[in-house]
């Protein structure tokens, strides 16, 4: 597995008089040889239990029963975490006041969880900012999906950026105070890999 992280996109908005609500997004591409779709289409690998704080049975979480998907998940190693954190730290530079300790501290103390998710038609999440445990999120499409995460200015309901929908493309975004995002318009099953780098004792 190889994760390629594109250039940082820094979005700042008119009306942000205190300059506290920038957003930082990186487009990513995943190189992965094995075909996952036949496994993703299995019906016996999805749990309907509430996951990552979302009590909506239209979001299904992978239950660990596929050898091929387990291998894929295990590829999200400490090395990937370090790659992501390094890029986020280097590119965000003085833009973030959210995480003020050293890079080494977060590298050592943070955790990176990963999930494979299947969003079924009708699932949606309203515009929100993630909780303060999350430093950064990674979302990668595992097939060509019908929709993707949309990002909003802090003061507008018009998205300024929509993440890629193509297979093995996706985004990393930094959990700034301004990182408002949502997901809607899911008309077909959507398969994604979701990973968050978090602080706090698990």
């Amino acid at each position: 597995m190889k994760l390629t992280i594109g250039d940082v996109r820094i979005f700042e908005f008119a009306g942000d008089v205190h300059r506290r609500y920038p957003q930082m997004i990186w487009e990513v591409t995943l190189d992965y040889d094995e075909e996952l779709l036949p496994e993703l289409l299995r019906n016996d690998i999805w749990s309907t239990e509430a996951n990552i704080g979302i009590n909506d049975r239209r979001r299904l979480q992978y239950n660990g029963k596929s050898i091929i998907l387990n291998k894929f998940k295990s590829s999200f190693s400490e090395q990937i975490k370090q790659q992501i954190l390094e890029r986020v730290w280097n590119d965000s530079n003085c833009h973030s006041t959210c995480y003020v300790l050293s890079f080494e501290h977060y590298l050592e103390k943070s955790t990176m969880g990963g999930s494979i998710l299947k969003d079924t038609p009708g699932f949606s999440m309203t515009p929100h900012v993630d909780n303060h445990h999350i430093i950064t999120q990674l979302i990668i499409n595992l097939q060509d999906n019908c929709t993707s995460t949309k990002f909003y200015p802090f003061n507008s309901t018009e998205p300024f950026y929509v993440a890629p929908t193509k297979k093995y493309q996706g985004v990393i975004f930094f959990n700034t105070n301004g990182a408002i995002h949502n997901i809607d318009n899911i008309t077909e099953d959507r398969y994604i890999c979701y990973s968050a780098i978090k602080i706090g004792v698990d």
Binding site: G53, T97, Y99, H133, F154, N175, I199
Partner: protein, 209 residues
């Protein structure tokens, strides 16, 4: 010594179309018979301080921190920092009153945060000219508490996410103060320090070690 926590003030803004940039503030009153004024006036108990600005610790010689060399002031601080009861009191109030505001930022059960948070307590002397520009605290901080130890000339001001006009100004009277939840909308500053300002400062932070 007893800390009286007033009702939560939820400050919301009509222009907040995503409803994510609210503020939650509690006014405080400390019932305390100690008079710290003489102790605070000692010149040999203050050390120059660093202030976090845009993620960097910058020397700011106009904010001085109490050096813990005075037994009366240290005892005062220890009433807060050494008391699990105090942490429990304010975290429980924030959790119960904060409701969705607490959960959006700190989504785990109260018991988790009681266990995995750290409380710090100190005394600051802000000299004339000290200022901090409008900012939001880092994501480790859950709650902050500021109490005036004298009648002070100025106090923390809070701002709407899209305006430079303050929406709330903290009390300036002795043994009054405030605590506030570190939400995405909690923009605050301190300006207009024209005389020495003495405050007790405490914060509850997420444990990250």
């Amino acid at each position: 010594m007893e800390l009286i926590i007033g009702p939560a003030k939820f400050i919301t803004f009509e222009s907040d179309i995503h409803k994510k940039y609210y503020q939650v503030i509690w006014e405080l009153e400390l019932q305390c018979e100690d008079n710290l004024s003489d102790e605070l006036r000692h010149e040999d108990i203050w050390i120059k301080n660093h202030v976090w600005v845009d993620g960097e610790s910058l020397q700011n010689e106009l904010r001085e921190t109490y050096d813990r060399s005075n037994s009366i002031l240290t005892d005062f601080c220890n009433n807060f920092s050494n008391s699990s009861q105090f942490k429990k009191q304010i975290l429980t109030r924030a959790f119960n009153d904060g409701n969705y505001a607490f959960g959006e930022n700190w989504f785990r059960p109260l018991e988790y945060y009681l266990k995995y948070s750290d409380i710090g307590a100190t005394i600051f002397r802000d000299r004339p000219g000290f200022a901090m520009f409008p900012h939001i605290d880092n994501h480790h901080i859950m709650l902050q508490l500021i109490l005036n130890l004298e009648d002070n000339c100025t106090s923390t001001r809070f701002y709407p996410f899209d305006s430079t006009e303050p929406c709330y100004v903290g009390p300036t009277k002795k043994y009054q103060g405030l605590m506030f939840l570190n939400t995405n909308g909690a923009i605050h500053d301190i300006v207009n320090v024209t005389e020495d300002r003495y405050i007790f400062y405490s914060s509850i932070k997420l444990t990250v070690d």
